[in-house]
């Protein structure tokens, strides 16, 4: 936990041009994530959490402000550099797995490496290592259609990890999973974070998922209004999050 992996400074994102039609998805957001942290971003639908994730992932441009990832300012990069940056420095896990169903699990996991023109043995080793970390060595030769949702999401996690990214970005990774599989995946993410020091940023609206994080940023209407650090056990943290949500809900009444 030495240097910040992500630094977000006064980021604004406005959709639409004209004053009356415009919509401020992010409103002066600033925060940072240290190396090896497991940070959650919580908020209701429409609070801007996905916009924030996309901005950090450089999938979307911000209207103003600065985002620095591993010392690189992504806000003024060119399209081509951004693509390259995404491919080398970031790993993604999406709600709907985003596995390519026309490729085997092995090929799916190996894809980021193929794209960097790595070959042969080094690819195989990396893929097997990532699969091992996620306990899915047995499914490598299968096609996504042949495995369960939980396995799919773990395959997606393996793909996110395989090229040693600076950070993993997870967008509602448990959204399409049943509770058993969701728990499994969260434990896996936590395990990866604790054992291998993988910096992770997870966007979620679910308090249970969020309770696996070390720190949670709360978003509402594009504003970062609260930050919570886990101090005790996960169960306590879960309660704190629920309380916070209840509090926020009460204020609206």
């Amino acid at each position: 936990m030495t240097s910040p992996v992500v630094e977000v400074n006064n980021v604004n994102k406005v959709y639409g041009g004209r004053a009356e039609a415009s919509y401020q998805a992010l409103d002066n957001v600033s925060f940072s994530i240290q190396e090896g942290e497991f940070v959650g971003v919580m908020g209701a639908s429409g609070s801007g959490k996905t916009t924030l994730l996309q901005a950090i992932a450089a999938l979307d441009r911000v209207s103003s402000g600065q985002i620095t990832i591993a010392g690189t300012n992504v806000t003024d990069m060119k399209e081509k550099e951004l693509t390259d940056f995404r491919a080398r420095r970031l790993g993604f896990i999406f709600q709907d797995f985003n596995l390519l169903e026309n490729m085997t699990v092995y090929e799916n996991i190996a894809l980021p490496l193929f794209l960097q023109n790595q070959k042969g043995k080094s690819v195989r080793e990396s893929v097997y290592r990532a699969a091992e970390m996620l306990g899915m060595e047995d499914t490598l030769s299968k096609y996504p259609a042949m495995i369960s949702g939980g396995q799919k999401q773990r395959a997606a996690a393996a793909r996110a990890l395989v090229h040693h990214p600076s950070m993993i970005l997870a967008d509602e990774p448990t959204g399409a999973l049943d509770s058993g599989n969701a728990k499994g995946l969260l434990e896996t993410l936590q395990h990866l974070n604790e054992t291998y020091d993988v910096t992770t940023m997870m966007v979620t609206h679910d308090a249970f998922s969020a309770s696996y994080c070390e720190r949670i940023l709360f978003l509402e209407d594009g504003r970062l209004y609260k930050e919570m650090q886990r101090t005790g056990s996960r169960e306590e943290f879960f309660k704190q999050i629920l309380d916070e949500q209840a509090e926020a809900g009460k204020n609206k009444l």
Binding site: A57, T83, R86, A87, N98, L100, N102, E107, P112, L115
Partner: protein, 608 residues
């Protein structure tokens, strides 16, 4: 109410329906265009070369019908897939199946009628334009050709109505069998099919046998004649379909499993794309191969006929120009031509005879074309010297090589018999000395205009001269009359070729469209994990390149072998075949580029 819902559903997929309709209109227009050619007896019997090819025409008609049938089935599947989800939802909400079937029938009828009306109108306009273009380009008149022809219209209507009924029944059966949930989840079902290796091997073997049979029929067309045309058409088509169905998936799988090569950049993905969709693709590719074969074959065939003209003219005689008593005008033209062979022979005309001076023929032996196409120098066998003209006349041998040569190559007046005499007898003849110039240029086609001018002067001379009846036809004349004859054939070849290529174009359009929707999430995902747009574009280009390449290879193989078919009407069916192939390849590449652009536009997320 349901009708209104269905109508709204159709409106929401307007773009897809427009594409579908375009494809149908295209195929109807092409079928109609073909029928205006095939059924119009006035046209086919007026153009001698075409009337002798009536059978080829009917086989072409049959092939077009078969391919249109498959094409329609293909578009129908596409139509069904467009509506599946919606129909499923209607069923879920309590609509009766019988009601839906009626609805679907209505929809088919609506689209079919619209397509027929527009298609026939388009066909009329297109055939008018094509005919006008070809006529303009060739400077020839296509006698008896009408772009609007009632019998063709009736045949087109009947054929497509029949096809629409067949597809309606097909849909009916399909809808009866299907379960509600299958329809609702239609999008998520995988394209993968269980492989049946045994069936596959049988299919592969049958495919190879059929294709060999088809190719052999093409090669031995001269011996097989009509039977050969039929067996070639059936066996080649069958073989192509069987081979593509059985071999293609196996082949791609083999490539995919060849570890190291594919593990570079996006190759793994591109290959997976291909393997994944091969089940859908194979029939389509077989159709494309056949259409390419027919299209390129037709263009090649038509051009071979026209290309045949110089070859045909060359066969007619050795000398490019034969000029009697060249005047200053003719001398001027002759001076512009570079001759590799140029001789002058003196002669006198008297009575029924033309007397050639022997020493001229002896000193500069003329050359003649043999029946096998070679060149022979006439340097011996000149008749012996005689005492008197009467003896010469008596010893005349009408069958000798010299007589035949002089009669066919130099004769100015056919009614006069050629004789060869020595100088003393020649001088004794009381007639004006005349001279014939015979020359072979270094390139016949290069002096096309000069030879035409010479012919024109000759014609004027002939009109002016009284009592002379016949000039042997010049090489240019032969060339010209063959050219006229070939016009109809070129027209047909061009017409057919464009028709088949256009057909394939709309086939490809469907392939692109029906596949693109499913590809969008894949490409979006790849872009999310950091694959650059350029790389994705290249992947699309590579994928489509292989899709284009496979049928092109087999299609061109069909053409190269299939040109044998014309061996019994053409001197050289392969004459300058590369020109027509080049035309095709350029066209094909343009189309490839267009398809890639369209596909990229559809599957790649818009830049923000």
């Amino acid at each position: 109410m349901l009708v209104k819902l269905a109508w709204n559903g159709m409106k929401s997929k307007r773009k897809d329906y427009i594409i579908l309709l375009t494809g149908l209109v295209m195929s109807i227009a092409i079928f109609y265009m073909f029928q205006t050619l095939a059924l119009n007896k006035d046209f086919t019997s007026d153009n001698a070369m075409i009337s002798s090819m009536q059978l080829v025409f009917h086989v072409g008609s049959f092939l077009l019908a078969v391919i249109t049938f498959f094409y329609l089935l293909y578009t129908n599947t596409f139509l069904l897939s467009l509506r599946q989800r919606e129909y499923g939802m209607f069923l879920l909400l309590g609509a009766k199946k019988s009601h839906l079937k009626r609805l679907m029938f209505l929809e088919n009828l609506l689209i079919g009628t619209a397509a027929l009306v527009v298609g026939i109108a388009a066909g009329t306009v297109l055939s008018g334009i094509t005919a006008g273009m070809v006529m303009g380009q060739l400077g020839e008149d296509l006698e008896g050709y009408h772009s609007f022809y009632l019998p063709s219209l009736v045949v087109t209507l009947l054929f497509f109505l029949l096809l629409f009924v067949v597809t309606a029944v097909w849909n009916h059966i399909k809808l009866s069998k299907v379960q509600v949930l299958e329809l609702v989840h239609a999008d998520t079902t995988s394209d993968r099919m269980p492989s049946r290796p045994k069936v596959n091997i049988v299919m592969m073997a049958a495919g190879i046998i059929s294709l060999t049979g088809g190719w052999l029929s093409l090669i031995f067309m001269e011996q097989l004649r009509e039977k050969g045309i039929l067996s070639a058409a059936i066996l080649t088509t069958l073989g192509t379909y069987l081979l593509f169905s059985s071999l293609l998936p196996v082949l791609l799988k083999a490539v995919k499993e060849k570890g190291a090569w594919k593990e570079k950049g996006i190759r793994a993905f591109t290959l997976s794309q291909l393997t994944f969709r091969v089940q859908n693709l194979k029939k389509f590719l077989a159709t494309a191969a056949m259409l390419i074969a027919l299209g390129a074959g037709a263009i090649s065939g038509g051009m071979a006929f026209k290309n045949n003209a110089p070859v045909f003219a060359e066969q007619a005689g050795f000398y490019d120009a034969v000029v009697h008593n060249a005047g200053p005008e003719e001398e001027e033209i002759l001076d512009d031509i570079t001759f590799t062979d140029a001789q002058q022979y003196r002669y006198k005309k008297a009575g029924d005879y033309t007397f050639y001076l022997k020493e001229d023929l002896e000193n500069q032996p003329p050359k003649m074309r043999t029946s096998s196409g070679g060149v022979k120098i006439l340097d011996n066998g000149l008749p012996e010297d005689r005492e008197s003209l009467a003896d010469v006349k008596a010893a005349r041998d009408p069958g000798s090589e010299w007589t035949r040569f002089l009669q066919s190559s130099f004769a100015r007046d056919y009614s006069k018999k050629p004789l060869i005499v020595n100088r003393s007898l020649y001088e004794s003849i009381d007639a004006e000395e005349e001279v014939v110039f015979a020359g072979k240029s270094d390139d016949f086609m290069a002096y096309h205009d000069e030879f035409a001018a010479l012919d024109q002067i000759k014609e004027q001379k002939m009109e002016a001269a009284e009592g002379e009846h016949y000039y042997s036809q010049s090489k240019y004349g032969m060339y010209e009359s063959y050219q006229t004859l070939a016009t109809g054939t070129v027209f047909m070849g061009f017409f057919l070729g464009t028709a088949f290529l256009a057909m394939m174009a709309s086939c490809l359009m469907f392939k692109v469209l029906s596949g693109a929707a499913g590809d969008v999430p894949r490409y979006r995902m790849l872009q999310n994990i950091g694959v650059s747009r350029d790389l994705l574009k290249r992947s699309v280009a590579a994928e489509l390149f292989i899709i284009f390449l496979i049928p092109a290879v087999l299609g061109l193989a069909h053409v190269l072998i299939g040109m044998n078919m014309f061996s019994f009407i053409l001197l050289e069916p392969y004459y300058r075949i590369w020109v027509s192939l080049l035309v095709f390849i350029v066209l094909y590449f343009l189309y490839y580029g267009l398809t890639v652009k369209m596909y990229q536009g559809m599957v790649l997320p818009q830049r923000k």
